[in-house]
Subunit: 598 residues, 2 copies
């Protein structure tokens, strides 16, 4: 969206610029700015790109306070609790002592001689605070507020951010067609919304594992992912220090954080799926809810009866959560404890406004397994559970595949929307072929763009390391950029208001050889500038009226501009002149070459 | 396609392995092999991947003799003329003196003191040969042969290559739904076919320019591109040494070579479009046809009357050929000399069996300009010209856009197929958004996969350097791999026979933790192996029964395998055991958790 356009709330027309920004040594092409909402302290961050022709373009910004040089951030202190006053002002939550943190929360099974928490590598040093939950009998979720007609500050925030009216936000949340993940214990986030009527969102996964990675790396990956446009981040840690890593990530994250509590629960039983119990799982959910996790993947749709449906599959069960639950079901020959205790789980999530992400534990892991009986049986159960969750006022989205060839993608979103009452679909890709390990950001970016066009609300990124290893910093960036492309391509195809103005601004800059503007408007300015400079490194080349592909005398853009120049001044004049010529031409018979009559 | 499957011609069931292959220091996972046709010397190259479980998978191979260690290749000598005997045996062509090569063919306008050709940097040293053309009154194109019911060796070659019957190949060519580009002066190629009933093909552009690049680099880029899967290569050189560069490329290319003769013609008039003439253009086409160019982009659809239609565009005319012709038309205020002389051009192309690629000179260069009046006006003219070309027995494909948002892509292929009598569509992307310079292989890979699914026969690759600079070796590889993904994803979506067997083989290897097989089956084995080794470099990790993402005790594939192991032996037994359990479960009421009634 450009700032030439009227925004719906009149008060938001003029973003306040706070400060210059840009990477060290680079020309300053954009600033962090804020659009003020109707109430004090409601300031929505935007990225304002300043063009060399004096215009500016305002883009959605997920990077948090880190890109505002006026804000002094410190990962050891955490971000300022932006939403704290809004939460307290509602008066429907209370602080309480909370569950004590235990060594096993960080994967330490046996008390060492030095005892308990002192074994942890790096306890978060920020201010201690008590957890908060809904008071007895109070419904504290954004869904509950929306249903009773309240527009919360969070809803207004996302309305400004999406350039729509707050009432549209409220309606979509109330109808269950959108979620606003915002745990009352995660006041640091800048609220965002996930729903098909809004901009398509992108999630980036991070997380250490038994094999590699550290706390510092995970926090760094989170800020790095949001720097490039991740709208939410899932912490999928499975190794040591799960609890502590999550604390650091949450306290420093400007975007909602998602988790899969089952991973941590499994760590607590030493990786033995059959030893999992509802009590251990529930305790883990409370632990994470108290920390502030905004949405949780719950694989409650993997029912005992569905497991045999996977036996003839090419790649069985590829979801980690799905296979853990399948293993548990088979070991005990019992129905899933997640399915059985789903109502109690709803009560817990409702108390903190944790959003469900109902996991697709039976998603296909290969082209051969796409859209099979196991997958769709689970989807129908997720539809059932979505209805239950809504009864408890728990916001809910539904996870989707996986590996799906292009011609089978649309059935996934159509069926999900039908079965789950249009609850937001949140898909992993899908990957459109299995044959390109090391390029699965691309195999899946294709499927992601298509399924988002058809209505998926959020895309879980896939990095080049998918199937091969854990993503490093470069992989995270590549994954996020690829998925921002897919999301924006879908916004365009859906005709999202304002989406095309970004493309138009960049194409104008391209046609007019405003190279710096092209770089600054690009999803990845650094790489675009770097590629240009490889061929034409000199500074004058960035204002040259030709491009580095064709050289000075052979450039189509230049010829096209020459045509305009020779035939008039403004575009209207040119068209008039050309139209006159064309008219003369038409009057003269309109063709020189006569098609064959034979 | 795997070698378990019956091939249509019985004689081709067992590819002959010639030799081991692989990169230095890497384990040998695949061999160059040949499938024999029905006549002596008809040997179709394939890539045979040997799996650690004793099976093998046969893949389409574009890499030419370079990957056969039994063939001694030398770029200074050129490749063996595989088709020469077939061409001579037909008896319908003749050698002739040919057009003398002139200094200006290589961009040298004025005779230097040292005179003429001696100014050239690197005249191709291979054996001199006379050019060949159709005898008077003889129709020597594959289209002409197909129409009169002849199955040429070239047609049989592609039938074996595509695993279809030769009659299908002949029918598709005769109907104009497919082209087999094979200039009588390019006997070095391994024939291939472009049509919607066959595997989707990928073209890679190379070419020096006034700014950068050398002959050696271009030859190296061509072999490099075919090594990764390019089915054809376009030489878009625009700087010095155009003629000589093309000679080196042609003599060393196992795939058809395409060009845009207009680029070289413009060089001959010092870059001044208005000085172009039909005579200069025609002479250039003959020059290139005698060298062996297999298909030529001709921008004959850019008619004078259409130029004003571009005046209000966001990005005007972005095709170089299109803008040159527009400039010429406006400078003279005359109809395009290409359109006016199209019949004579058909006669020339027919004499050498050069295939038309009717260029889309008015393709959109931005999302804003997609599917506009200018674009579709030109497409209707291309339909007209297609009809003319067919009358002269010239094989013809039609070029397509460009920049198109996802929701406007299908209209492009549907309209093209209708207007152009199902002639093969050959598209550049399309790019689905303008905002990601440096990632346009991805913005366009999305559109390419979709438009290929819907019927596009060949995709022109886009590299990460699009809009920014000339592609280097890495960019060429990234572009080719991205487009092979798009093409294969489309083959899957179209249900192309045998396409999924490749995915199945890789997914089987993945499920069974056969890491080396996964690498060797990957589109890019080197990068896949490298990514895996970054996390788990040790050799035992390549046979480990867990993957580098989750570590040894937390792997969904492993859990999924455990489920199978615990519940039986073979897949059938497992399913039976599970089904029994499931039946008991169903008989007991089939649900533990009762969905909410209200």
């Amino acid at each position: 969206m450009t700032n030439k356009d009227a925004r719906t709330p009149a008060s938001t027309q003029n973003p306040t610029e706070t400060s210059a920004n840009g990477e060290a040594g680079k020309s300053v092409g954009w600033h962090k700015a804020y659009v003020e909402g109707s109430r004090p302290g409601l300031r929505v961050p935007v990225r304002q790109v300043h063009l060399t022709n004096g215009q500016s373009v305002t883009l959605y910004d997920t990077s948090g306070p880190y890109t505002d040089p006026l804000v002094d951030t410190d990962v050891r202190r955490g971000l300022a609790p932006l939403r704290e006053n809004w939460i307290i002002a509602r008066g429907d939550t209370e602080e309480y002592a909370g569950r004590p943190v235990r060594p096993e929360d960080d994967g330490i099974k046996h008390t060492s001689p030095r005892g308990g928490l002192r074994n942890l590598d790096a306890v978060f040093p920020g201010r201690p605070r008590l957890p908060r939950r809904g008071r007895a009998g109070r419904a504290v979720t954004q869904l509950a507020y929306a249903r009773r007609g309240e527009i919360t500050p969070e809803m207004e925030f996302v309305a400004v951010r999406e350039n729509v009216s707050p009432e549209v936000v409220r309606e979509e949340i109330a109808a269950g067609r959108a979620v606003l993940p915002a745990n009352v214990n995660h006041p640091e986030i800048e609220p965002m919304i996930i729903g098909k009527r809004f901009l398509v969102k992108v999630n980036a996964n991070i997380g250490n594992s038994a094999v590699t990675s550290s706390i510092e790396e995970e926090v760094e990956k989170m800020t790095w992912a949001t720097r490039w446009g991740a709208d939410t981040v899932m912490d999928l840690s499975t190794g040591r220090n799960i609890h502590t890593t999550r604390e650091w990530v949450l306290r420093n994250s400007p975007v909602p954080i998602g988790t899969v509590p089952l991973y941590q629960a499994l760590e607590k039983v030493d990786g033995r799926a059959e030893e999992l119990t509802w009590e251990i799982y529930k305790d883990t959910v409370v632990e994470q809810a108290e920390q502030g996790v905004d949405y949780m993947t719950v694989h409650a749709g993997v029912r005992l009866a569905y497991v045999p449906l996977t036996a003839n599959r090419k790649t069985g069960i590829v979801s980690r959560g799905g296979s853990i639950m399948a293993a548990w079901c088979l070991a005990h020959h019992k129905e899933s404890f997640l399915y059985e205790n789903f109502e109690e789980l709803c009560e817990i999530l409702a108390a903190y406004d944790v959003t469900y992400s109902l996991g697709d534990g039976l998603r296909p892991g290969s082209i051969a397994d796409a859209n099979d009986e196991a997958q769709f049986a689970e989807l129908r159960t997720l539809g059932e559970l979505n209805t239950v969750a809504k009864r408890f006022n728990v916001q809910t989205m539904i996870e989707g595949p996986g590996h799906v060839p292009m011609h089978k993608i649309k059935e996934n979103i159509d069926l999900q929307q039908e079965i789950c009452d249009e609850a937001p679909f949140y898909t992993l890709g899908p990957l459109t072929t299995d044959v390109a390990p090391a390029y699965d950001h691309i195999t899946s970016g294709i499927g992601a763009a298509m399924i988002a066009w058809w209505g998926t609300a959020m895309l879980c990124y896939v990095t080049p390391k998918e199937h091969l290893g854990l993503p490093n910093r470069d992989d995270v960036k590549t994954g996020v950029i690829t998925y921002k492309i897919a999301a924006h391509a879908a916004d365009l195809a859906k005709g999202h208001p304002g989406a095309q103005e970004w493309d138009d601004a960049l194409s104008d800059a391209r046609f007019e050889f405003r190279w710096e503007d092209q770089f600054n408007l690009a999803l990845d300015p650094d790489t675009a500038r770097g590629f240009h400079d490889e061929t034409l490194p000199a500074e004058p080349a960035k204002t040259a009226h030709f491009c580095s592909m064709c050289g000075p005398k052979f450039c189509s853009m230049k010829i096209s501009q020459d045509i305009r120049r020779e035939h008039g001044g403004s575009r209207d004049e040119i068209e008039e002149g050309m139209a006159q010529k064309s008219k003369e031409f038409a009057e003269a018979g309109n063709r020189v070459y006569l098609p064959i009559a034979d």
